[in-house]
Amino acid sequence: MPDVAVLADSASNLLAARNQMGFTLGFHIVLACFGVAFPLVMLTAEWYGHRKQDPEALRLARNWSKGVAVLFAVGAVTGTVLSFEFGLLWPRFTDRFGDVFGIGFAIEGIFFFLEAIFIAIYIYGWDRLSPRAHMLSAVPIVISGIGGAFSVISVNAWMNQPQGFDLNSAGEVTNVRPFEAIFNPATGYEFFHMWLAAYMVTGFLIASVYAVGMLKGRRDRYHRLGFLIPFTIAAIATPIQIFVGDTAARAVADDQPAKFAGFECVYESGDNQTEYIGGICTDDEVKGAIGIPGLDSLLVGFSTDTYVKGLDQVPDDEEPPALTLLHLSFDTMVGIGTALFLLAVWFAISWWRRRDIPATPWFLRAAAVSGVGAILALEAGWIVTEVGRQPWIVYGIMRTEDAVTPAQGIWWVFGLTMLLYIALGVTAITVLRALSRRWREGRPEAPGEIPYGPPPGERSGTST
């Protein structure tokens, strides 16, 4: 007879490990977005500055490159923590499947290298490289951000749509086909969805900083460009994202019906499914939601006759947990995404007709919260993907509870990690705010005030 205390322990371990992984990944994902998208924003400003002979754009590019550096450094360490967690939290997952999904990470390693190398060259090369060479040094950063995102997302996609290996009768992995594992059915839509999300999060968040400045009356060219460059990039990404997200949801309805039924709260399989907005999802019904009859079927198959699988076809022990959380997260993501789309349209109309930002302060107010909104949508979407995949770590093949470490004390580690990361986040925001205040005041940095660069005053002895 199994020991009850041991069983309770392992359930608690699973929850602790999932919390730990979820928290550290949820923290890192924001920094990862900046790693992917901030270099493009910075390079756009530099390119514009050189092209239009605009010193303010160049000043922005130079200032932003310091933000890129600080965020990349923090992202590099929080990313390292995640690599450790593959072994510290999920040793049995890595043991069994590391040889299948690992290649994606190996490829990511190359991109990470290039990113680290060329960020260093770019940051340290401001006054030492010609404008052309300097801008060229940013191109590998932009490309490796995209390539790195693709590699990492391909692993997450593989966890949702595992393929590229066989299992023998003992459940051991044989006949590994790494190429198939990387290009699994979910890689395409997951990658494009995440890539565009990175541009949206980064673009809206940077723009919202300058929107706040403009609301406070700082309407100079520096703030205007600081708003326009990232906002335009985000505004271009948003409508494409609506299309990609819609495609992704339809694909999930096919590929992972349990996840789809979970976040749409579809209980009974059948056609003419109601689309529920908001509400609480109990074990067998939705309460307090706004229901639009037939819309769910229409969205899945362009016809209200479309058959949608419900939770009734999913064995009880394979249903995703926390249905309400899933459902509301999905609604949050879609709702904020739609709001951001409307904001982008508003901006586009105004720009098309008057070549200017909408005159009403309400536009800037909306833009000022768009960054926080984009982050919320990002986290909500990530909850949908990850919690929606549960109870599986490898969809349909390995359960998360079978992957977790038996090691003790994860709750303690989780608590300490929370404290550490909160301190890290607060310091990063404090530092960026202090830098931005200094840039705004337009005064040059005093020696020792540059985020991890050589202090300028110390260089007198280093003739070149």
Binding site: F84, W439, I450
Partner: protein, 344 residues
């Protein structure tokens, strides 16, 4: 040579580069911490910033490389190591987080953040090499069973792991001091060069003394590795390492810089590969061999291809970075220019 052996070799290339270049960055953090305060300490820290600022993140990527190759090509070994040595590994990760963020933040804000960030940077720089040393010691001592879940405390709290932890800290400070001797010499700051020269010597003497203890510990706790290091081909690499170490010591004593870095790096590389030769054919002596831990051949082939691509793409880029930073072509913000007058 099987493709599993090739992958183990690739893994070890990553280990070597991380131990030497990543290690030197940690060692520099220790010197930063020990610099104290005052005018000279400022110059010491400025030199450390100049030396490691442009390269530390690229050097850090070697660790990711090692982890990824380990879990892809040798999943079972990765899982065994992490499910046994999770305490020192978690502490090493803590050191990585604190060191990296401390370094990134230290100059951002004068006053409130700079001072604590510098402290954190320095202290955390000891954590990672120490606990990595205990991990290597526990593996060498055969404390990691092939199926994992070994003793979470007894495996690494022992004579060999703890002494290797200390040795790792001393060796990283030694390597860092040697690099800083070179860099401050190139920068023309002779006083600073002498400063680091004295410290490199002190670290060399301490590391040498600790190495003697390490050999005794190896003999007591890791007989398989010890025997490998004292017989062909391990012994050859140990001798090469010793000769390089003595050359480096001689150069330090006589105050010559030429060839110093090569000798020091050679000493480190030879001993790291000496371990590899001594432990061969084991990945976890003596519980798991390279071939038993190896992934299916398609995965190994993919790892080798990815490594080939990395050599083609990353090595030239790294060479460009090192060249530019050594030529000091890469320095931000010349004293005359400020943020408002970007160069056209």
């Amino acid at each position: 040579m099987s493709s599993a052996d090739v992958c183990a070799g690739i893994l070890w290339v990553g280990v070597t580069l991380y131990a030497i270049f990543g290690g030197a960055d940690f060692g520099a953090g220790v010197w930063d911490f020990l610099a104290g305060s005052g005018e000279r300490a400022k110059r010491v820290r400025a030199q450390i910033d100049r030396s490691i600022g442009p390269v530390w993140e690229a050097n850090h990527v070697w660790l990711i490389f090692v982890l990824v190759i380990l879990w892809t090509a040798f999943s079972q070994a990765f899982s065994a190591i992490f499910s046994t040595l999770y305490i020192p590994l978690a502490l090493a990760a803590l050191g990585i987080v604190l060191r990296g963020s401390g370094f990134a933040f230290r100059h951002a804000l004068p006053g409130p953040v700079e001072r604590p960030a510098t402290r954190v940077f320095g202290l955390a720089s000891v954590l990672t090499p120490f606990f990595m040393g205990t991990v290597v010691g526990a593996i060498a001592a055969g404390e990691v069973p092939a199926d994992g879940n070994g003793d979470p405390t007894g495996s690494w709290i022992g004579f060999l792991p703890l002494s290797l932890g200390v040795i790792f800290v001393l060796l990283t400070t030694y390597t860092a001091a040697v690099f800083l001797v070179h860099d401050s010499g190139t920068a023309g700051d002779l006083e600073l060069r002498d400063y680091f020269q004295r410290r490199a010597l002190a670290a060399a003497v301490l590391a040498g003394a600790a190495a003697v203890v390490g050999v005794i510990a190896l003999r007591a706790d890791a007989r398989y590795v010890y025997d490998g290091l004292t017989s062909w081909p391990g012994i050859a690499l140990v001798v090469i390492s010793g000769v390089c170490g003595l050359i480096a010591l001689g150069l330090l004593v006589t105050g010559r810089n030429y060839g110093l870095r090569v000798a020091a790096v050679g000493a480190g590389t030879a001993v790291i590969w000496g371990y590899f030769a001594a432990a061969f054919p084991y990945l976890l002596p003596t519980s798991l061999t390279i071939s038993d831990a190896a992934a299916p051949s398609a995965t190994l082939t993919a790892v080798i291809i990815v490594f080939g691509a990395a050599v083609l793409v990353v090595i030239p880029s790294l060479a460009l970075l090192y060249t530019l930073s050594q030529r000091q072509a890469l320095e931000s913000y010349s004293a005359s220019s400020d943020a408002t007058s970007p160069r056209q």
